[in-house]
Each structure stands twice: as structure tokens, then as C-alpha cells.
């Protein structure tokens, strides 16, 4: 091996390794790693690749069940759909790249998750996204050009950042308003570009974006979240794993050429707290030289990859045809940590070694160093193992699809990951050490004495909330977390591939026919329904119960469409796990996820962890994000002809509240609007009652006895009613029977109207059909579908057009 100067401990620390990890590498290798090896270790031993702070917790999650075909550990999980077909799905985050460069960050997030799906041999059929941004301050004149950034951070301003605005004087409140507008400029920019990036990639590749969710909260201001989920359909007996097998088989890299983009993405960017401020001390240490050609620079833009959906479209068709023709033995996509991660994981799973000669990798830039080639995160690349006799055919098929392809290595029996450069050995590491020997850390969870989150600062346009139910309802409908997502999802193609039976806002879950609709269907048409959800504010108030609620909401959404859960994926977005209160959030949240998935019989088949989502205390609104365990759930329904709808469908139908309706204002949207502090804990959820209610609703939808079904979430029952009216274009007359013995009638009224809970639904249909639900769950008849206004008792009477105007408040963000 060449005898260039070995990197030092200091280099290892700059790459994100700890001193003890570096010592462990030296000990296991029997020598200090060279530059290539250190670069590879630093990535594979990063939080992003090794899950070193989360793996022990993740092992507590339920991963087995009667529908599970492929569990965690593969590129994507898969559940059985019957008829020889499976649904592959997974959610993944691209948070830090999106905070640095939202368009490419979000676009390559979609590209990456799609590759995970076709890497196991399933054709991607849908994308959903789960997004979090800071407050966009809708309803104010925009752009906020008059706001200039204050250079210095005076003591006064620090005070503003730590106190409740109402406790401040008028001048200070103005300063705080100014800061909100500054933050809103950035939040709006991130939202706009992230949506455009998702649209750019998903639309161009011919995979429909059929759903998703977005929340706007101040703790996401400095750390936006971009999670993308993808689903695919494959034939059960044609799925492929990533395990490299067959000593002597050839390793072929195909797809785009390899450049310097994304170097260090997994370690430097994804596994550390994010400080996006320009700083001369932040040269990503992988660069080595200071010529300016490498990944050096004053910010982290060069650690973000650049995507090309056209290249991925060809890559996808090529991969699927290679599999269809049985030309490859195993397949793996190149994502975080590029060739390093994909080659060593293929070797690890197959319990073999792999030799790679970097001089055979097609490059974008001629002078790339071996370690740069090994860690590059250039997009749209796949690695496969091929029997030598088939290599020519594989390369010919690559040529047909106009994607590059090159044989770059071989499977060996020595258990080592060896890197060569023009035949010269430049790196040699035992696969087991590289992939499996990264130390796993125990968390040290401590419940904080008080919440680390300040009370939500209500959006300025909604300041001083009204007290009358009518005005409160309109203010909630206008609020960014509740207003219609139409201006966002209108930027996505939701119908390509001829499967989409329920588009966004037609039902609580998106519904797709399993096979494309071609007119030849006779009898029932089986379908899948999918939902993704997480209300981070509720998780912040109570990590256990909030996470249970997130999983239950997904299942409720599926029930409204008529689907039963088959499996779950999750993306755990949290702050720095080395801090005790974050460790506590993470531990409680995973416990909640496990309990909910067990109760729902919807095991976890795959997922992702994104930690260190917090920014240094020097930044305004610094600190951790709300803990955000995003849950994605896939369910099956026997006949899409009977897929449920959320909107009222027929004048004269009775309206009922179904399920355990125990509304609570704590941590609700209304509480946020009023600037209330987060409570310490949420009311416990009766899991059995919720699961029973979901089953009752699901069966009624399947029987076709309900005209509509919609679950009660943010904003409570009145907002749910308004959404049913708007989705169906029909009014409703509703009256809640008076309750006796009220301690505080005013508060109780509002709690009933706007309080939130899990597992309750607004359904409509013939009265007899609704009453029949009483055998299985609680039900309360509350009114009738009629007219063109929503009327609630004597307190609310608002026309559909006024409801619609309030509900379309987000349109101004994309005007």
C-alpha cells in the first residue's frame, strides 16, 4: 500500500468520529487507517449510516406479522397484497440538505427513496411527503422587504428570544414581530423551493405524488424537515435483496457518472447539528486541500447532491428490465455515503468480500482522488452483482436505456472491502469491522423539568384570537396547519399510472388500485390506501402519547378509506440524542410507536432516523425541533369501488360523531393560536376503544353504508365538519345536545367544539346505518347534511363560500 502520510486523530475528529471510535478502528485494523479508509469509516460509523444512538431502541419495535414479506434492513420493507404481489414502501428524510438547498435537497430526497423501492424489484407507484417549516406569517403584506437583518445580537434581542411576547414591552414586541417576518421570509422560501423540488423530480419520473402533510411551527424554522415516502408494487417471487453472493461474480456500477457532489453528506451534514451560517471554520474536513476544487467552501452547499430525474427515469426502467430478464444476482442503490456504503453493505449481507477498482468508475471530473470516488454521493447510480457470463448483456441493456455502465470490481471470499486504484491497493478493511463493529451507544434519557419549547408565538395575522366560536372557526380554517393544501398538491401529478382512485382532499387516505385500471376489471378491484402523519406539537407535549396518536391517525385515515393496516414505516426526526431530554423524547416516542403498531397489528417494516435536528444556541429560535416521529402506513381494501370519501355526499344524510370522542384543548391548534404553553403530558388514549372504532368505520365504509367518513384531528369536530362540507360542496345543520353539570360552560363549549383527540370520526349516511354502528363503538347523532351553510347550534352559521375563502389561505404563498 502506498506510504503517504497517514491521517491523524485530529482528521478523524473533524470527520465526526470520536477519539475512542478512532482508537477502536486502529485496534480492530491493527494499524491506523489511511485517508481512503478513514473517509470510509467516518461515513459508515456516522449516525446516519450506523444508527449508533438509535439501533438499540429500534430493536424494541414490532417487525413481524402475517403480512410482512420483507422487514427492516433491506432497501425497503414489503407487505403481502395477495395474488402474488407485494407492496414495498419506506420513508426517508432529507432534512439537512433541504435546509441548505431546498430544491435539490427535496428533489434528491424523492430520488433516493424511489431508488430504494426499485432496488428490491418493485415498480414505484406513489410518493408522499411529510414537511415541516417555520411560520409563514400568512395574511400579512408580502414580501417582507422592509425587514433588515440586525447584524449584532444585543442583550435585548436575546431576551426577546427567551420570553413570551406578552411579557414584553411594545418596542420589544415590535422587534419580535420583525424577527418573525425575517424568519417567515426564509420559511416561505424553503417551502416554495422544497415543493418545487419534489414536483420537479416526482412529476418528471412518472410517479404520482398522491398525498402528504405539512405543518408550520417555529421550532422548525432553523431545521426544516423534508421526509419522502415511496411505495412500489412487485411480484413476490421476483424480489431481490442487496446481499452480494457468488465468489468471482462481477460488480457493475450503472447509472450516472461520479462527481464531487455530496461528499461527506452522511457524516458532516446529516449527523451533526446544523449551523447554516457562513463561517470560515466550517470547511468540511474531507476536502483535504484548499484549492477550491474540492468540497471546501464557506458553506455546506457542496455537501448537497444535485439530482436529474431524467437520468433516474432511465435508471429505473433499466433496473426493472434487468431484474425482469433475470440478469442480475443482487441490487443496491447508492445513497448516503455512495459506493462506500452500498458496496460494503452488499458484502456484509452476503458475508463476502468485495474488491473495487476506482479507476474503472466513470467520472465527471478527471482528477478525483480514490477517497472522493468512494464517498461521492452523486445521484442516480446503482450497484449490482452479475454472473460473469451475463455482464455483456447487462451492459448492452444499459446502452439501450442510455445509462452508463461499468464493471468495477468483483465478489471475493476474503471478507474484506478492498479498494484499488489502477491495480494498486489503496484501502483494505474487514467488512465486519466497517459495517458491524461501530459501537452502539446507550441513551441517557432524563425527563426535563420543564419543556424546552417556548409557547408557540401565534402567527401575527391571527394575534389576539377572537372569542366567538364563529370567528374562532374561521381563524382556525385560515391557520397554516389547517388551511387547504391544494396550492401545494396542485403542483404534483397525482394521476399518472392509472391507479389513483382517491386524490388529495377526496378522502382521508390516498387510494390506489393495485393494478392499473385498464377497463378489463370484473368483480372487486383490490386497492391500497396510504397515509402519513405526525403532529409534532402533540409529541412535544407528550412523546409517548403523541406518537401513539400519530400512528392511530394513520390507521384512522385508512379506516375512512375502507382499508385495514398491513404495515408501517417511520422516520424519527429528533434533536441531538446525546442530550438527556432529547434521549427521553426518543425513548418515549419509540415506546409509543411500538405499542401503537402492536395494537394496530401494523408492524414496522422499515424506516429511517434523522437526529441532530437542532441549531446552535447562537441562532434565533435555536434549539431542537419538535420531536417528529413521522409515521407512514399502508393498508389494503378489497374493492376500490367502495373506497370512502371525506366529503358529505347527499343532502338529507344524517351526521354522527363516531368513536371515543373525548376532546381536549391542551396542545390543540386553538391552544397554539392563543399562545398557550405546551402542557406536560396529554390525556391517555384508550387504544382498544380507538382500534374498535376504526374497525367499525372501516367495515361500514366497505359495506357501502356510509356516504362519508373523516377523522377528527386538528381544530376538533367543528373543523372536521367544515372540511366535510367543503369536500362535498354541501352544508350541514348540527346541534350538540346540552350537557348538564358544567363546571365552566364557556370553556367546556370551546373544548367540545375545538378540542382534539384520537379515534373519533365524523360520518354521514342513512340514520339507520349510522345507528347500527352503536353495536361496536360509541355514536352520537348530531345533525343532517343540508343547505349551503355550516350551522352549529345558535353559535355558528357560515356559508360554504366563506368557509372556502378562509380555507384557501395558503394560496397567497404561491401567488
Amino acid at each position: 500500500m502506498s506510504s503517504v502520510t497517514l491521517p491523524s486523530l485530529q482528521d478523524a475528529l473533524e470527520l465526526g468520529l470520536t477519539e475512542s471510535e478512532y482508537d477502536l478502528i486502529c485496534e480492530k485494523q491493527g494499524r491506523a487507517p489511511n485517508q481512503v479508509e478513514l473517509a470510509m469509516y467516518s461515513l459508515l460509523w456516522s449516525e446516519h449510516c450506523a444508527y449508533k444512538h438509535s439501533k438499540k431502541l429500534l430493536r424494541t419495535l414490532p417487525t413481524e406479522g402475517k403480512h410482512v414479506v420483507m422487514g427492516p434492513g433491506e432497501n425497503a420493507g414489503a407487505v403481502d397484497l395477495g395474488d402474488g404481489l407485494v407492496c414495498a414502501f419506506k420513508v426517508e428524510s432529507h432534512n439537512h440538505p433541504s435546509a441548505v438547498e431546498p430544491f435539490q435537497g427535496a428533489a434528491t430526497g424523492v430520488g433516493g427513496i424511489l431508488r430504494d423501492i426499485f432496488a428490491i424489484g418493485a415498480r414505484p407507484i406513489a410518493v408522499l411527503d411529510s414537511l415541516r417549516f417555520g411560520e409563514p406569517e400568512i395574511g400579512l403584506p408580502y414580501p417582507f422587504n422592509e425587514v433588515e437583518e440586525d447584524k449584532g445580537r444585543s442583550g435585548r434581542e436575546k431576551e426577546i428570544n427567551t420570553q413570551h411576547p406578552q411579557e414584553l414591552g411594545e418596542t420589544a414586541a415590535k422587534l419580535a414581530d420583525k424577527r418573525s417576518k425575517l424568519a417567515a421570509n426564509r420559511s416561505r422560501y424553503l417551502l416554495d423551493r422544497a415543493i418545487a423540488g419534489i414536483a420537479h423530480y416526482g412529476n418528471s419520473i412518472g410517479v404520482p405524488t398522491i398525498g402528504g402533510e405539512v405543518y408550520f411551527e417555529a421550532p422548525y424554522e432553523q431545521n426544516c424537515l423534508v421526509n419522502a415516502m415511496a411505495l412500489g408494487i412487485g411480484e413476490r417471487d421476483k424480489l431481490v435483496t442487496s446481499a452480494a453472493v457468488g465468489i468471482g461474480n462481477t460488480v457493475v456500477l450503472f447509472g450516472a457518472s461520479t462527481g464531487r457532489d455530496g461528499i461527506g453528506g452522511a457524516s458532516v451534514l446529516a449527523s451533526a447539528e446544523l449551523d447554516i451560517s457562513p463561517s470560515p471554520n466550517q470547511n468540511p474536513p474531507l476536502g483535504g486541500d484548499s484549492s477550491g476544487k474540492g468540497p471546501n467552501g464557506h458553506n455546506r452547499r457542496s455537501t448537497v447532491q444535485v439530482g436529474d430525474p431524467f437520468e433516474e427515469k432511465k435508471l429505473m426502467e433499466c433496473s426493472l428490465e434487468l431484474l425482469q430478464r433475470g440478469l442480475i444476482v443482487s441490487l443496491q442503490d447508492l445513497g448516503a455515503a455512495g459506493l462506500t456504503s452500498s458496496a460494503s453493505e452488499m458484502a456484509s449481507k452476503g458475508e463476502v468480500g468485495i474488491d473495487i477498482d476506482v479507476s474503472k468508475v466513470p467520472l465527471r471530473e478527471a482528477d478525483m482522488k480514490p477517497f472522493e470516488i468512494m464517498v461521492s454521493e452523486s445521484q442516480e447510480r446503482m450497484l449490482c452483482v452479475v454472473e460473469p457470463a451475463n455482464v455483456a448483456q447487462v451492459l448492452a441493456l444499459c446502452e439501450k436505456w442510455e445509462v452508463g455502465g461499468a464493471a468495477i470490481g468483483a465478489v471475493t471470499d476474503n471478507g474484506c472491502m478492498r479498494v484499488f486504484d489502477r491495480g494498486e491497493l489503496v484501502g483494505d478493511m474487514p467488512v465486519r469491522v466497517l459495517v458491524d463493529d461501530c459501537p452502539l451507544y446507550d441513551l441517557e434519557p432524563i425527563k426535563p423539568a420543564s419543556t424546552p419549547y417556548r409557547p408557540a408565538r401565534p402567527p401575527q395575522a391571527l394575534r389576539s384570537p377572537p372569542t366567538q366560536p364563529r370567528e374562532l372557526m374561521l381563524a382556525l380554517l385560515r391557520s397554516p396547519n389547517i388551511a387547504s393544501r391544494r396550492p401545494l398538491f396542485e403542483q404534483y401529478d397525482s394521476v399518472v399510472q392509472s391507479r389513483t382512485v382517491r386524490r388529495p382532499e377526496q378522502a382521508d387516505a390516498a387510494v390506489l388500485a393495485i393494478r392499473p385500471l385498464d377497463g378489463s376489471e370484473r368483480g372487486p378491484i383490490p386497492g391500497i390506501a396510504v397515509s402519513i402523519d405526525c403532529n409534532g406539537r402533540r409529541v412535544a407535549a407528550d412523546p409517548y402519547t403523541g406518537t401513539v396518536a400519530a400512528a392511530l391517525e394513520c390507521a384512522s385515515n385508512l379506516a375512512c378509506a375502507g382499508a385495514e393496516p398491513l404495515g408501517t414505516t417511520n422516520n424519527l426526526n429528533f434533536g441531538n440524542p446525546e442530550k438527556p431530554h432529547i434521549a427521553w423524547q426518543l425513548t418515549e416516542s419509540v415506546r409509543g410507536l411500538g405499542d401503537a403498531c402492536r395494537a394496530l397489528e401494523a408492524p414496522i417494516v422499515g424506516g429511517n432516523v434523522s437526529l441532530y435536528n437542532e441549531s446552535p444556541p447562537t441562532r434565533a429560535n435555536a434549539g431542537p425541533i419538535y420531536p417528529t416521529p413521522v409515521v407512514g402506513m399502508v393498508g389494503r381494501l378489497p374493492d376500490v369501488r367502495r373506497a370512502g370519501r371525506s366529503g358529505f355526499a347527499r343532502a338529507g344524510d344524517a351526521i354522527a360523531i363516531v368513536g371515543p370522542f373525548v376532546p381536549c384543548l391542551a396542545a390543540s391548534e386553538l391552544a397554539k393560536l392563543r399562545g398557550e404553553s405546551l402542557p406536560d403530558g396529554l390525556p391517555a388514549i384508550d387504544l382498544d376503544a380507538v382500534v374498535a372504532a376504526q374497525a367499525a368505520v372501516r367495515d361500514a365504509v366497505r359495506d357501502g353504508t356510509l356516504s362519508s367518513a373523516h377523522d377528527i384531528t386538528e381544530g376538533g369536530v367543528v373543523i372536521a365538519l367544515a372540511e366535510c362540507c367543503l369536500a362535498g360542496g354541501l352544508g350541514a345543520q348540527v346541534d350538540f345536545p346540552a350537557e348538564e353539570e358544567r363546571r365552566d360552560p364557556k370553556r367546556d363549549d370551546l373544548e367540545r367544539l375545538f378540542g382534539e383527540c384520537s379515534g373519533a370520526f365524523v360520518v354521514s349516511g342513512e340514520q339507520a346505518a349510522l345507528c347500527a354502528l352503536a353495536e361496536r363503538t360509541s355514536i352520537e347523532l348530531v345533525g343532517t347534511v343540508e343547505g349551503s351553510s355550516l350551522v352549529v347550534g345558535s353559535q355558528i352559521d357560515v356559508s360554504l363560500s366563506d368557509l372556502g375563502r378562509a380555507h384557501s389561505a395558503l394560496a397567497e404563498l404561491f401567488a
Binding site: 412529476n203 412518472g206 377497463g519
Partner: protein
């Protein structure tokens, strides 16, 4: 009756078009690198992002080997339907007048739009009926549109000639023109009447389960035109696919 549906690298809606065409006849995919149209009676140039829409939407696809044959086929009077990206390709190939520009909102936009059938006596709209029709009724189709370069444009002289020749076949219904197309134009044909392009996607409106079956009448019309005016071979629900 056999439809040939082109497949370019970057096509996205070719399989949808294939399934839609098969609802009224036979159909198969035609690879962009082959010049052989395999005996197709009509050609569909589908939606998507052929060649990544690099340079300009449709600008590269129009030079592909299969398009040489499609251009010759069109010159001989063969029926050619261009949908979305296919419409852009046909304009680039100068088989259709005018051009498609970026939407006025500069965004990719998906919307279910209502279209008015301006010319019903064409090879692409002759099966669009109005149930219980009375004199003066206009057939309306509910069809999804999804694109970022869909703003139809032609100069005044071209527009005047198109009006004169009945080449403006579809318009967006009042309030539905989200892309800023001139004169609300959604679909046009060539002077001879055998080539037709539209931005909305009729292949995504062929089944009530996905929201609408109105688009089927475009494919049914092509079959009627190809096989002679007799629509007796078509199921009645196809011929009556349009609503008022």
C-alpha cells in the same frame, strides 16, 4: 384498429395512453429508436418529459428515428394524437401550428379542467356526444391537465387561419384556463384534420373510478374516423362519454 403509442426515454404517460387506447381497440408501444410503426392505424405521442425536456419541451424528441416515420405517416393522412408533451413534440415537428410556452404562473400545475368541444366534426371529437342534446348545446369534457409548459400561443395571422379552417378544436371552459393559453385554446388540429394535439390528458379520464370517463370519446372518435363513421362496434357508454 390498432394504435401505436410512442415511447421515448422520459415518457411518463405512455402506458396510461396504451391502456386508454386498448379500451377502444388494439394498441402497442413503439420504441423511439425504431422507425417501424408496426402497422399502426393511428399514432399517439404521449405525455411525459421526453429526453428530460432538455433544450425545450419536445425539441429533441421531434428528431428521433420514430418521429421521422410519424411525420411521413401524418403527411400521408394518418391519424396522429399528441397529448401534453406529445402536443409539444408535434408543434416542434411543425405538424401542428403554434407553440407551447411556460404557464403564466411559472409552475407545474395539476387541475381537473372542463373543456368545451368547439369543433365536433373532427376525427378526434366526432364521438363526443351530449346526453339529451338540444340545439346549441356544447359538449363539455372533464379531463385532468398537468404541465408547466402548456400556454398555447400562435400569432394573429395563424390564429385567424385556424379559426377560418375550424382548427381550434377544444377550449378551456370559462374560468378553467390556468396556463394563460391564448383564446383559451386547449387543443388544435392541422389544416388537413388528421393531426391533433391537446395539453389536457384524455388518457387519464377513461374510467369513472379515477374521476371521469370523458376522455374516452377522444380515442373512440379516432376509431370511428379510422373505421368509417360507423360507431356500432363501440359500447354505447363509450360513445356517450361526454357530459353537458
Amino acid at each position: 384498429m390498432k394504435f401505436g403509442v410512442l415511447r421515448f426515454p422520459g415518457s411518463c404517460d405512455e402506458v396510461d395512453a396504451l391502456y386508454a387506447a386498448r379500451r377502444v381497440g388494439d394498441a402497442e408501444l413503439l420504441w423511439h429508436g425504431d422507425r417501424d410503426l408496426r402497422g399502426a392505424d393511428a399514432i399517439v405521442v404521449p405525455g411525459g418529459f421526453s429526453y428530460g425536456d432538455y433544450l425545450r419541451a419536445g425539441a429533441i424528441a421531434r428528431f428521433s428515428p420514430v418521429m421521422e416515420s410519424v411525420i411521413a405517416f401524418a403527411r400521408e393522412g394518418g391519424l396522429v394524437l399528441g397529448i401534453c408533451n406529445g402536443f409539444q413534440v408535434l408543434c416542434e415537428a411543425q405538424l401542428l401550428p403554434g407553440a407551447l410556452l411556460p404557464n403564466t404562473n411559472l409552475r407545474f400545475t395539476f387541475r381537473q379542467v372542463d373543456l368545451e368541444v368547439v369543433e365536433r366534426d373532427t376525427a378526434f371529437t366526432c364521438a363526443c356526444l351530449v346526453e339529451g342534446e338540444q340545439a346549441g348545446d356544447v359538449a363539455r369534457l372533464s379531463i385532468p391537465a398537468k404541465h408547466s409548459w402548456g400556454r398555447y400561443y400562435a400569432d394573429d395571422a395563424t390564429l385567424a387561419a385556424m379559426r377560418e379552417n375550424g382548427q381550434i378544436v377544444l377550449r378551456y371552459a370559462p374560468g378553467q384556463n390556468f396556463n394563460g393559453s391564448i383564446e383559451d385554446i386547449a387543443g388544435v388540429r392541422n389544416e388537413r384534420g388528421n393531426v391533433f394535439g391537446l395539453m389536457p390528458h384524455p388518457e387519464h379520464a377513461v374510467d369513472e373510478l379515477t374521476g371521469s370517463a370523458d376522455g374516452l370519446c377522444i380515442f373512440a372518435s379516432m376509431r370511428m374516423a379510422a373505421e368509417g363513421a360507423d360507431a356500432s362496434g363501440l359500447p354505447p357508454r363509450i360513445a356517450g362519454g361526454a357530459r353537458v
